[in-house]
Amino acid sequence: MKLVAVTSCPTGIAHTYMAAEAIEQAAKDAGHEIHVETQGAAGAEALDPQWIAEADAVIFAADVDVRDKERFAGKPVVSAGVKRGINHAADMVAEAVEKAQAAPDSGPVAPAPAAPAGPRLGPGAKLRLWLMTGVSYMLPFVAAGGILIALAFVFGGAEVANQVNGGEFEGVDYEAITDPTRILDQVGITGVLFYIGGLAFSMLVPILAGFIAFGMADRMGIAPGVVGGLIAVNVGAGFLGGLVAGLLAGAIVMALKLIKADQAFSGIMRIVVIPLVSVFAVGFIMLVLVGKPIATAQTWLTDWLAGLSGVNAVLLGLLLGAMMGFDLGGPVNKVAYLFGVGALASGDFTVMAAVMAAGMVPPLGLALATVVRSKRFSQAERQSGKAAWLLGAFFITEGAIPFAAADPLRVIPSTVVGGAVAGAVSMAFGSTLRAPHGGVWVLPLIGNPGGFIIAILAGTAATCLCAVALKTAWRSKAAETADDQALVAI
């Protein structure tokens, strides 16, 4: 059997090598071929990617992070502290062999191990690969959160959102629940579904940002990325803010890693300096340089919309719809949505209908596009397309974020166009809506539902056509290379 191992310890002058020797001995005694990478002070001689590709199992005997761990993705791994490698090397080897035998087809799973050994990527393809990394880690949150919220609506009615978060629904004023442990008693299981779904959703942007940074700068990127993403959420910057935070965090950590530290100092660099500096820098930029202008812009947009009262209804629908589709839950989308809710409160029900139609269209249109032209989408995107149908149907616009985050320049124009069409058509038919959320589940509360449905169909078709056209006409070889790579990495 063929094995590879990595050993490392805090100082990198003793245990690393003792463990390497012990594991090499144990493996040879047991009749296996092994290569060990010692990540110690004498400089790590990286394992030949060929050995990794051929290895049946991987052993980590390490007290500090194994560097470039993603090289071993998909392999059976036995992992322990460095001392176990020294004292019980034979046991670790036996476990690795056992795992290799238990693993189905553990042979050349990834013949071209991730980025380091792959073909050199151009800057565009790299960017796409980073974004795809972030999206791939975010997807489970979208699926879990979105479906939980949809289920809450199905079983609890659209008012479940207000029962948990407070606010008015259909003339009933609900008080927000302040103690989450009491949701089950006060709202019931549907409230619990909604609450958990909402929490999972609140992690979308932090996870997206954190793992974009991870894709760029390895694990050191996660902390500044996640913190930057949390700030993007808190300042209402949405997923575009998350993209900025993730790329920023990755770039800062990459830059900090370039500083050649004295060997004695390099441990402190990794453990304290890089996390401290990168988290602060990203946090400061997001909070002060990004957050404030966004708040100002939101105020300005809100005032501007308010000043538009009396403008042609179809034009207003077009505008609000475009805003809904622009950043999919981000600041511009929020302004449009709140404008709809405000109109609801003042007795104008047409605006809310236009806003909801436009908010349902982006996930629906992109889901349709993945079916019509599946070749233009990555495998991950085709998978998220399936969930996007459901999310769109329930007015969970965020269902489009995985597509938009992976390819903003082609997807955002499509969702803007689709949203604008849906908003305008809904206004043209004069459809009304008396609920602030719920999607298909509040169809009974919609006046002129036929017109509303036509608006959604038209918007969905527009988004789909636009996305397919842009992805076909403006194909980049870079994106395709990155997608092929991402398939291996994900």
């Binding site: 020797e21 002070a41 502290g81």
Partner: protein, 148 residues
């Protein structure tokens, strides 16, 4: 480059109530040989490392070590202790204590020597030979030859 270890860096009757005392005695040998400039500073670095995770290894071995600015040349002080000194290994006290002193930012050829020493430590015959060596000069020769 001077040898990693010489006879004057070997103490075959190492005693110490605990690992800090034993390490201190070996560090004093390094200081006398001029390989450590500031014993207290060096010991503080060793303790900091020891605090992260005890350096005792099963089979009666303790390897306190540090990379420290107070070290002038990569060095090894060796102590043999009849009653043993606890270095936190699971199977009890260590009778072979290796104090490894590496200069901060040492060049990688120094580190390679220390790496090959560390590799030797897990071999039973090497440990047996150290336990049976008759005198300090024999120990120093044994280690130097092993690294040659």
């Amino acid at each position: 480059m001077s040898d990693l270890i010489t006879a004057e860096l070997v103490d075959l009757d190492l005693t110490g109530a605990d690992r800090h005392e034993a390490t201190g005695k070996l560090a004093a040998l390094l200081a006398q040989a001029g390989r450590v400039t500031d014993v207290d500073g060096f010991l503080a670095d060793v303790r900091a490392r020891e605090a992260q995770m005890p350096t005792g290894i099963e089979g009666g071995i303790g390897i306190p070590h540090a990379r420290s600015a107070h070290v002038t040349a990569p060095s090894l002080a060796f102590g043999r202790s009849a009653e043993g000194v606890d270095f936190g290994a699971d199977d009890g006290p260590a009778d072979l204590v290796f104090l490894i002193a590496a200069p901060a930012g040492g060049a990688s050829d120094h580190m390679t020597i220390l790496a090959s020493l560390a590799r030797k430590l897990i071999h039973q015959d090497f440990k047996t030979a150290l336990r049976e060596a008759p005198d300090a000069a024999a120990v120093a020769a044994l280690i130097t030859n092993a690294l040659g």
